[in-house]
């Protein structure tokens, strides 16, 4: 069974094209000389529909179509189109036309013209379905048959050139370089210093900052290779300038500024947390708003109300002590588990009973609702686990690490999801977006899915490589700013470890 492919015409397609030309237009075929000149001309684009037969090297031309558009002109013409009778009725004519129209739009054309025989209603129908309208009739245009030509025209949406943006992320222990074209992910390379922090049981800011400096150049080069773009093709640089660890952020900021100045390209200083929300652009093409966003990592636990990604992001609440990821790390340590604690507790909890021990839920009491309705506190929970383990130890009784891990995890997840769902309900927002490294926690995803389903809330969890800290989300947010026509940031911005989420872009 043959299959068909559309590709650019090559010089050695001429014979196949001419054969089809004579078959399709027996009375007024172009000469071989004219066709050769058409194929070779600077201002034309010819595509062929080729038959690919498995096991055979050769191609058979079963269709072709050509566009003429002079550079600098906003008008183009469809020169010809033909599809061999046995390949007709399968939508290939339409695909050839669509490809040519998209080529024309890419070359800056805003209107395309064509002529069609007045006695060919099938072709007219195809063109009409593509948006062409008859604007003129030329009497006796086709000779020797004496058939009129209908002149048709379609207006093209000038396809905006999508900006290629390179994003740099260095707010904590991941050096991230991401590259996007508009809302399309081209590369997302992350170099983590997590292993270096393991013996300290938590992220050491100075260790993280040193690792960023060493990872910058290799991470950049890897991202460019992955995206298959050169630095010259980058249209703008985006960098996370806060919130995060100051010394770590400064490495990214210094690097991004030098890159922007060296390339002569604009720079956008963007908010790291809003970047987590912006990551969804890369999977959905946009962030549907309004949405509640729950961002949970080793450094942050924040609940955001996003009415507009670029203009209206509000902080509903955040942790008043430890971040959720930090609580996982600390409890893992006291249970004798490794760093980072999240995956270790997840593993240990798999065999445990989540309701074995009722650990306290911080800031969940009615009295907390006035001041801390959407804030989080995990310090008391961590201490409660420590006390429980000490008492169990002192009593000499055997206890199940799995039960402690499962019960602790259940408490953290319960707090996170309860507050996030409450925020959705209170603000009448039918969407919840999760972000941050703790999203890797299986139980968090399960409980969020269950409770969102129960309340008719749509749950969005981007792919994990876009949830954890990464440069692609920074690039994505930067690209949204570029496409919205925002001014770049002035070069004098600094790193702000406590940058509020209301500052999506530092001006």
């Amino acid at each position: 069974m043959a299959s068909y492919t559309i590709r650019a015409a090559e010089a050695n397609d001429l014979a196949g094209i001419m054969e089809l030309e004579h078959a399709c237009f027996p009375t007024d075929a172009w000469s071989e000389k004219s066709m050769r000149e058409e194929l070779a001309a600077e201002h034309t684009t010819y595509l062929v529909l080729a038959e690919v037969t498995p096991g055979e090297a050769g191609y058979g031309v079963v269709g072709y179509a050509g566009l003429s558009k002079l550079s600098g002109s906003e008008q183009g013409d469809i020169q010809t189109i033909a599809v061999s009778p046995d390949a007709r009725g399968k939508g290939y004519g339409r695909r050839l036309m669509e490809e040519l129209l998209s080529v024309a739009a890419g070359q800056g054309a805003t209107e395309i013209f064509l002529e069609v025989r007045a006695d060919n209603p099938v072709a007219q129908g195809l063109y009409e379905s593509l948006g062409f309208k008859v604007i003129d009739r030329r009497r006796n245009y086709y000779q020797p048959d004496g058939v009129d030509a209908l002149v048709m025209r379609v207006a093209l949406e000038a396809a905006p050139k999508l900006p290629i943006v390179l994003g740099i992320e260095s707010s904590c222990d991941e050096t991230g370089v991401g590259i996007v074209r508009g809302g399309e992910l081209l590369a997302n390379v992350i170099s983590s210093s997590m292993d270096l922090h393991a013996r300290f049981g938590g992220v050491v800011p100075e260790v993280a900052a040193r690792a960023h400096l060493e990872a910058l150049q290799p991470t950049l080069r890897k991202a460019l290779a992955e995206a298959n773009v050169s630095l010259e093709e980058i249209d703008a640089i985006a960098v996370a300038n806060g919130p995060g660890l100051a010394g770590a952020l400064m490495v990214g900021v210094g690097a991004a500024k030098a890159l922007a100045v060296g390339l002569g390209k604009p720079i956008y200083a963007v908010n790291h947390l809003v970047g987590h929300v912006g990551a969804d652009v890369l999977e959905r093409g946009q962030v549907e708003v309004p949405t509640i966003a729950l961002l949970v990592s080793g450094g942050h636990t924040s609940l955001l109300l996003v009415n507009d990604l670029l203009d209206d992001v509000q902080l509903l609440g955040e942790t008043i002590d430890d971040a959720a990821g930090e609580a996982f790390d600390k409890v893992a340590r006291l249970l004798g588990l490794k760093y980072p604690g999240g995956p270790e507790i997840d593993r240990a909890a798999a065999e445990g009973n989540p309701v074995a021990i009722r650990f306290p839920r911080g800031l969940m009491l009615p009295k907390d609702m006035e001041k801390h309705r959407y804030d989080f506190s995990f310090s008391g929970l961590k201490t409660a686990v420590a006390r429980w383990v000490e008492v169990a130890h002192d009593s000499g009784a055997e206890f199940s690490v799995a039960d402690v891990a499962a019960s602790f995890r259940e408490a953290v997840v319960d707090i996170l999801v309860t507050k996030a769902v409450n925020a959705c309900l209170a603000h009448n927002v039918p969407r919840l977006l999760l972000g941050g490294g703790v999203v890797a926690n299986r139980r968090l995803r399960e409980v969020a899915a269950e409770r969102c389903a129960k309340h008719g809330i749509e749950l969005r969890i981007p792919e994990f490589s876009l949830c954890t800290d990464n440069g692609a989300m920074i690039a994505a947010l930067g690209a949204q700013l570029v496409m919205a026509g925002r001014e770049p940031s002035a070069l004098g911005f600094g790193a702000d470890s406590t940058l509020p989420v209301t500052t999506v872009q530092t001006p």
Binding site: F200, G254, K257, L259, V261, G262, L334, T383, A386, V391
Partner: protein, 219 residues
Amino acid sequence: MTYILAIDTTAGTSVALLAADRVLAHVHHDSGVKHAELIGEAIAQVFAETGVRANILDAVAVGRGPALFTGLRVGIAAGIMFAEAVGSKLVGAVSHDAIALSLYETDGSLGPAPLLVTTDARRGEVYWALFGGLDAAGLPITLAGPSVGKHAEIVVALNAEHGEVTERTGGATAVWVARLAQRQLAAGIATDEVSALYLRAPDAVPPKPNQQFGKRVSG
């Protein structure tokens, strides 16, 4: 003619553009803070002032310290990325070597005694290096260091080993980082090693086992 951009954030924020030995532009902020804020404009300014196009650079030179970490990293990160952006060579320079070169070239009061260059390392310590003049290529000859330690102890130890040393304290500027790099390039000994000379380990202590929270939380 060799065009070189030098960046040094070991003391202030210093950026210079040189053609061979000639300074075309030099932006220098003395303050030892706000490196991340200042670095972008400083680099942009040396090109704007001179009209030199960044893509004709032969090399980007960066001061590697030793110096206080946070500011130091900003300059090195910027230097690495600028070299990537314009596709030029990267040269790493020990900042104390650049200070020594500037002193040998400009301080007429220096005698034949070994030159001790010190800079503030906080915590009652100094970053230091000891030099014994310039070699045939015009480059400072390092006798000891760079290192970090208590000032008084270092002076006593160096005097005992090298005879009476002459001490100068100061900060590096990008101009002399550039000149040092120029001479290293000319002598064929320039290196693209730009890792930061921290000389101190991060202040972090792994937690002791069985004492996870420092103290028990219950009786």
